[in-house]
C-alpha cells in the first residue's frame, strides 16, 4: 500500500516538475500509438466497411479471420516484424529495426484487425433498408458509404478507441522492434517494464499512472466526439 502511495507521489512530482525525460517518453508514446491508430483507422474502417457491404464467396471465413486478428498476440506480431526487418531479413534494406517507425508499423498491424472487426460488425448492424433508402434519394456509392459511416459513428469510434487502447498499452512488440532505446524508442510501457526490472517500483508505478492518465485524456476527447448529439 505504501508503495502505491509512493508511486502516486512520484507521479505527481514527475508531472509537476515537467521532468524532461518523462515528458519525452509520454510524448513519444502518444506520437507512436497515435500514428499507428490513425493508420489503422483508415485501413480498418475502409476495409471493414468494404467487407461488410459486399457479398462474396468465403465471406464468413474472411470475417472469422478478421475476428481472430483482433486477438493477435502483440508479442507474436513483434517477433514476425523483427524477423522481416532485421538487417539480413527480406526488408532489411529499410534499416528500420530499433526505430520508432518499426514500432508504428508493428502497432498498426496490431490495431488494424481490431478496428476492422468492430467496424465490420458496426456496418453490418445497420439496417439494409437504410442503404436502399440513401441510394433511392440519388446518392452516389461513395456518398452512400460516407452516410453509412456517419450513421455508425458510435460503434466506429468505439472501434478506434479499442484500437488505440490496444496499442498504447502494448509492450511486447514495442520492446522487440523498438529496442527501448533511451530518448529514442523508449515509451511509457517499455520504460515501466525496465524500471520494474531494475527494482525502481516507485518510478514504475508513477509511469503506469501517467500512462493511464494519457489513455484517459485521449479517450475523453474521442468519447466527446462519439457521444455528440446531432442537432436534429
Amino acid at each position: 500500500m505504501e508503495l502505491i502511495v509512493q508511486g502516486i507521489i512520484k507521479a505527481f512530482q514527475l508531472i509537476i516538475s515537467f521532468d524532461p525525460e518523462v515528458l519525452g517518453i509520454t510524448w513519444l508514446s502518444l506520437k507512436i500509438s497515435g500514428t499507428a491508430t490513425f493508420i489503422s483507422l483508415f485501413i480498418g474502417i475502409s476495409l471493414g466497411t468494404a467487407v461488410a457491404l459486399t457479398n462474396f464467396y468465403g465471406k464468413r471465413l474472411v470475417i472469422s479471420l478478421i475476428n481472430t486478428g483482433m486477438g493477435l498476440p502483440p508479442v507474436v506480431v513483434g517477433l514476425f516484424v523483427t524477423i522481416m526487418i532485421w538487417r539480413n531479413g527480406p526488408l532489411g534494406f529499410l534499416e528500420i529495426l530499433y526505430t520508432p517507425y518499426a514500432m508504428i508499423i508493428a502497432q498498426a498491424i496490431i490495431a488494424t484487425p481490431i478496428v476492422m472487426g468492430i467496424s465490420l460488425a458496426a456496418i453490418q448492424n445497420l439496417s439494409p433498408n437504410l442503404r436502399l433508402q440513401i441510394l433511392s434519394l440519388g446518392a452516389s456509392r461513395l456518398q452512400m458509404v460516407w452516410v453509412l459511416i456517419k450513421e455508425a459513428r458510435l460503434p466506429l469510434l468505439a472501434a478506434v478507441m479499442a484500437g488505440f487502447g490496444g496499442v498504447i498499452s502494448e509492450v511486447g512488440a514495442s520492446i522487440m522492434v523498438g529496442g527501448n532505446i533511451k530518448g529514442y524508442s523508449r515509451v511509457l510501457t517499455t520504460a515501466t517494464v525496465m524500471e520494474t526490472g531494475k527494482g525502481n517500483f516507485d518510478i514504475a508505478i508513477a509511469l503506469s499512472i501517467i500512462l493511464l492518465l494519457l489513455a484517459f485524456l485521449v479517450n475523453l476527447i474521442l468519447t466527446q466526439i462519439q457521444q455528440r448529439q446531432h442537432p436534429r
Partner: protein, 291 residues
C-alpha cells in the same frame, strides 16, 4: 454538405499535425556525422540496470557523432545476435561462450574491459547455513543438501553460465529439482523474485548494490576466485556479415578501453552506493585479475 466540408478540414489538420509529429520524431544532431551512423550494441542487462551505459553512451555519442542503439538482453542472446550479424559490437560477460564465439570467427578483437564479482545472496535466515563459506561450489552443495529454494536466471546469460559452471564444479545437477527454479528474467527481476520468495540466487555485485535498498537479501558468499565476473568487448566480424558497422564497432571498442573511459568506470557508483560497481581492467591479463 457543410458537414462534409468541416470533416475535410479536420482531416487536413490531423494530417498536417501527423506530418509535423513525424518530422520531429527523429531530429538528431551529431557532431561530425559518420557515414554509417548507427551502431547496434548488444549487451547484458547488468551494464544497463546499473546505469553504467547511461553515463558512458552519451559521452561516446558526443565525442564521435555515432548513434548507439543499446539492446540490453542476456549475454547469450547478445552473442546470438552477433552470430546472425544483427549487432555490430558486443559488451558481454560470458568468457567460455565468448571464446567459442571468437573461435568460430563471429567475433574479432576481444578486449578485456572491466570486472566485478558475483555474490551469492539469500535471506537473512540462511536456511542452508552458507554464510561466510569461502568456496562458492561448496555453498552450492549445501544449498542442494538443504533443498533450499534457489532462483536461477535460466536464460543463457553470463550470470547463468557462471552459475552452471559452479553447479558443475560442485558435482550437483539441479535441473528438475523442486527447489531449483528458473525465472528466465533479467538480473534485476530475478533478484526481485528471490527477495519475494526468500530464496538464494547468484547475482553480480553491481546489480545487487544498485537494487539493495528494495531487496531483503544479504550477501552470504563472496570473494572466491570462481566468482569473478569479467566483461569483454567484441566486434562482430564484418567478413561474416558485410552489413556490420565495423568502423563504428571499432570506435566503440576503442572507447571502452580508453584511459579516460576507464577512469569513469573506476569511480562509477561510489557516490551513490559507497563502493565502485565495476573495476577497470583494460590492458591487463585475465589471469592477473583479482590478485
Amino acid at each position: 454538405m457543410k458537414m462534409f466540408r468541416s470533416s475535410k478540414v479536420i482531416i487536413t489538420l490531423l494530417t498536417v499535425a501527423l506530418l509535423f509529429a513525424f518530422g520531429t520524431a527523429n531530429v538528431f544532431a551529431g557532431k561530425a556525422v559518420p557515414k554509417q551512423k548507427n551502431i547496434i550494441l548488444a549487451t547484458t542487462t547488468s551494464t544497463q540496470d546499473t546505469g553504467l551505459l547511461d553515463v558512458l553512451i552519451p559521452i561516446f555519442e558526443k565525442q564521435t557523432g555515432y548513434f548507439v542503439k543499446t539492446i540490453a538482453v542476456g549475454s547469450g542472446q547478445a552473442m546470438a545476435m552477433g552470430q546472425k550479424g544483427e549487432a555490430d559490437v558486443l559488451l558481454v560477460h560470458s568468457p567460455e561462450a565468448e571464446k567459442k564465439f571468437v573461435a568460430d570467427s563471429f567475433g574479432v578483437n576481444r578486449q578485456l574491459v572491466m570486472h566485478n564479482d558475483f555474490v551469492i545472496v539469500g535471506p537473512a535466515a540462511d536456511p542452508a547455513k552458507i554464510k561466510g563459506i569461502k568456496n562458492a561450489a561448496e555453498s552450492f552443495k549445501k544449498i542442494a543438501a538443504a533443498e533450499a529454494l534457489f532462483l536461477s536466471r535460466g536464460d543463457n546469460s553470463g550470470t547463468h553460465s557462471q552459475e552452471k559452471k559452479l553447479w558443475k564444479t560442485s558435482g550437483i545437477n539441479p535441473e528438475g529439482q523442486k527447489w531449483y527454479q528458473q525465472t528466465g528474467l533479467g538480473m534485476g527481476q530475478t533478484l526481485n523474485v528471490a527477495a519475494e520468495k526468500k530464496g538464494y540466487t547468484l547475482a553480480d555485485r553491481g546489480t545487487y548494490l544498485a537494487m539493495k535498498k528494495n531487496l531483503n537479501l544479504n550477501i552470504l558468499v563472496e570473494g572466491d576466485a570462481a566468482l569473478l565476473n569479467i566483461y569483454h568487448v567484441m566486434e562482430v566480424n564484418i567478413a561474416k556479415w558485410p552489413k556490420v558497422n565495423a568502423a563504428g564497432a571499432k570506435a566503440f571498442a576503442d572507447f571502452m578501453v580508453a584511459s579516460k573511459t576507464q577512469s569513469i568506470i573506476k569511480t562509477f557508483g561510489v557516490d551513490k552506493y559507497g563502493s565502485a560497481l565495476f573495476f577497470p581492467d583494460a590492458g591487463k591479463k585475465v589471469e592477473d585479475l583479482g590478485k
